[in-house]
């Protein structure tokens, strides 16, 4: 049996792969970057003596995801759980995105995950077991000027995972969702941020520890829950004025 990690070649996905490997779990790793996946596979197999299979797949292309599911039914039937530490950003993601950018960003951050889970759910329901872990972003808490489509897709994903949690309360499928603030990955490297960055290594540990828990929705780092609450409590006309003040 294996655990499937989508977006495993870098950042949080890579740290989750190491955490699972440290716990002697076999892995199936998916990413756009085959070279990085192959090196990660070598390192994990050499250091932890586990079995790792890798697949190159671009989640920004829903057709490719669909084909992958069709071509790898037997592989997917053997998985214990699936994690989606995936996120795709584009440099000029603003209010006027092109059609291609919109489709790409929404596919990678929402549609493909949703589509993949639909198929996985059938397998897990048959097995009466399995876990699904998703990762949102605090950027989805409120509209913004940059990463407009990314944050919209992450808000949609959060909504979808809430539905997933609610729909699976009465069975053995465990669904967890983490809303991420700043993480210390290459995306935030050397960026001056208002709040401290969370460690992806620590988050990977938390994710692994919570795998058996049902219906989790957590913020990481934890203090983002207060910011999220404040955003949701404040009427939009006040939030709007605060944003205007800081801009």
């Amino acid at each position: 049996m294996s655990n499937l990690i989508v977006g495993a070649s870098s950042g949080l996905g890579r740290e989750i792969a190491y955490e699972f490997a440290r716990n002697s779990k076999n892995l199936i790793l998916i990413s756009r970057n085959l070279k990085d996946l192959e090196i990660l596979k070598s390192d994990l197999e050499i250091k932890f003596k586990i079995e790792v299979n890798v697949f190159q797949l671009d989640f920004s292309d829903l057709n490719k995801v669909s084909k992958f599911i069709l071509d790898n039914k037997k592989v997917l039937e053997k998985i214990d759980g699936v994690l989606f530490p995936i996120g795709m950003m584009r440099e000029n993601d603003n209010i006027k995105n092109s059609n291609d950018d919109l489709i790409g960003i929404f596919s990678a951050n929402f549609y493909s995950i949703n589509f993949f889970i639909t198929h996985i759910l059938n397998i897990f329901e048959e097995k009466k077991n399995g876990f699904i872990v998703g990762f949102g972003s605090i950027s989805g808490a409120i509209g913004r000027e940059i990463n407009v489509s990314y944050s919209s897709a992450k808000r949609a994903l959060e909504n979808y995972f809430e539905s997933l949690i609610i729909s699976n309360l009465k069975n053995h499928i465990k669904v967890q969702f983490y809303i991420l603030g700043y993480l210390d990955t290459n995306l935030s490297f050397e960026k001056k941020l208002l709040l401290p960055k969370g460690s992806p290594v620590n988050l990977a540990k938390i994710v692994y520890k919570n795998l058996d828990k049902k219906g989790i929705k957590k913020f990481f780092p934890f203090w983002w829950i207060f910011i999220d609450m404040a955003i949701k409590i404040l009427p939009f006309f006040i939030t709007k004025k605060i944003i205007k003040f800081f801009n």
Binding site: N33, K35, D36, I39, S42, I46, K47, N186, E190
Partner: protein, 440 residues
């Protein structure tokens, strides 16, 4: 992209740089394509400004830290160049293998060790790290991905080892590993009464696998050269496997105290305590863990911090065996005249053939650490004159103050190295503050 101010470990150079830490292969290509001047950075532990340049991009490869292949029977390992020595050794030592030619701090990356052609405490026996390198993969903005070895692109392979990162980013490396029999070391302490006596005692048997170095006093002319030779030999009889594991502490070697604590009195006090501890309290033969013998600076990072914000200077010079007496004589003469403030004075054996900018030669390697002040700078200028006069080998990677004039006289291959680098990289993309100083 925001800029970051970065310092050399000796604190003598700083620059505002563009800084990126990619974690994907494609990212190295994308980032490199966006900048005119690039240099690769490991852990940024170099004494000199070898991994940064004002307004240039420093690509830090610490996320490229994985093991790609391991063949125990052939004793070969392929790793990404950003792997720290501690991570590499925690894997290989558990399998009775290692690379002996490694510098004294475990957070240094293997790529950094190759770009500076590092050596260890057993350099009189093992030479430098170039002996262990079988293959290198680099990325160069103009040439793309290149495999380098004695069989493939040999000229670039030779330029890359000790080449200060000028041939591009070292991304992957295949190393020949050596067996490490035994689990820890037996350290013998031999007292010496002068620098010449230290040379005799340190050079006792270069054919034996001994990790040998000295500690000598430098607080006054009267005490200059007195000290100890430490001979670390592998302890085959010990079965304590735990001693091989390398544990880093959380101390940041790059962060110094605000003020300098080293002065004539504190150096005298520290050296007197150290000498008396080893003379009267420490057993003349004792067991030492792998970590303590090979990485003696772990846990002693405060030594660097004590130099304060102004930092320190280090001079490392290889003196051929037949010139050690005259070198010591001349150093003692200038010591008596200028009374410099030297915080560390140490000797070790060296073996190798100098090529390009590689810090190598057969002889004794003398190391001096200085507080940064005008008196010491004058003393170091006098040391340079001795180097030039006797054509000794001063270390470019340790002494950030070293003048081009001295390097030109002491490194016969400098001009040829420049020509070959210019031929390979005619746009001179890969540069650092250090190589600017060398006019490369």
């Amino acid at each position: 992209m925001t800029k970051k101010k970065i310092y050399s470990l000796d604190k003598n150079y700083s620059a505002d740089i563009f800084f990126k830490r990619p974690d994907k292969y494609k990212e190295i290509e994308i980032i490199s394509s966006k900048f005119e001047n690039i240099i690769t950075m490991g852990s940024c532990n170099s004494y000199t400004p070898a991994s940064f340049r004002k307004n240039a991009l420093s690509i830090q490869l610490t996320k490229f830290n994985r093991i790609i292949e391991f063949d125990k029977s052939q004793k070969l390992i392929t790793v990404e160049a950003g792997i720290m020595l501690s991570d590499l050794f925690n894997f290989t030592l558990a399998r009775g293998l290692w690379v002996p030619q490694i510098p004294g701090y475990p957070t240094i990356t293997i790529g950094g060790a190759i770009a500076s052609n590092s050596h260890g405490k057993s350099c009189g026996f093992h030479g430098t790290i170039k002996k262990q390198i079988k293959r290198i993969k680099i990325f160069h903005k103009l040439h793309g991905w290149l495999n380098l070895s004695n069989e493939e692109n040999k000229d670039i392979f030779d330029l890359t080892i000790g080449g200060l990162g000028l041939t591009g980013s070292i991304v992957e490396v295949q190393l020949r590993l050596e067996e490490l029999s035994g689990n820890n070391f037996v350290t013998k302490i031999i007292e010496t009464d002068s620098s010449n006596d230290t040379v005799k005692k340190i050079n006792f048997d270069v054919k034996k696998e001994t990790y040998c170095y000295s500690w000598n006093r430098s607080d006054s002319f009267k005490n200059f050269g007195k000290g100890f030779v430490f001979q670390n030999e592998l302890n085959i009889s010990s079965n304590n496997k735990l001693t091989k594991n390398i544990k880093l502490n959380n101390s940041d070697i790059n962060k110094n105290f605000i003020i300098n604590f080293w002065n004539k009195y504190s150096v005298f006090f520290a050296q007197s305590v150290y000498q008396n501890y080893f003379k009267f309290l420490k057993s003349k033969q004792h067991e030492e863990s792998f970590q303590k013998a090979i990485f003696p600076f772990i846990g002693k990072e405060f030594y660097f911090k004590l130099f304060g914000k102004k930092g320190f200077l280090e001079s490392q010079i290889i003196v051929p065996f037949d010139k050690t007496e005259v070198f010591i004589d001349e150093v003692e003469t200038i010591f008596k005249k200028h009374d410099p403030l030297i915080t560390l004075y140490s000797l070790k054996n060296f073996k190798g053939e100098q090529k390009n900018l590689q810090f190598e030669n057969d002889g004794i390697c003398f190391t001096f650490d200085f507080v940064k002040n005008s008196k010491n700078l004058f003393f170091m200028d006098e040391l340079d004159k001795i180097c030039e006069k006797h054509l000794l080998t001063p270390s470019i990677i340790k002494d950030s103050r070293l003048k081009l004039e001295t390097i030109e006289k002491c490194y016969k291959d400098l001009n040829r190295f420049k020509e070959e680098i210019n031929k390979f990289d005619n746009k001179r993309i890969y540069k650092s503050t250090l190589t600017d100083k060398l006019m490369i």
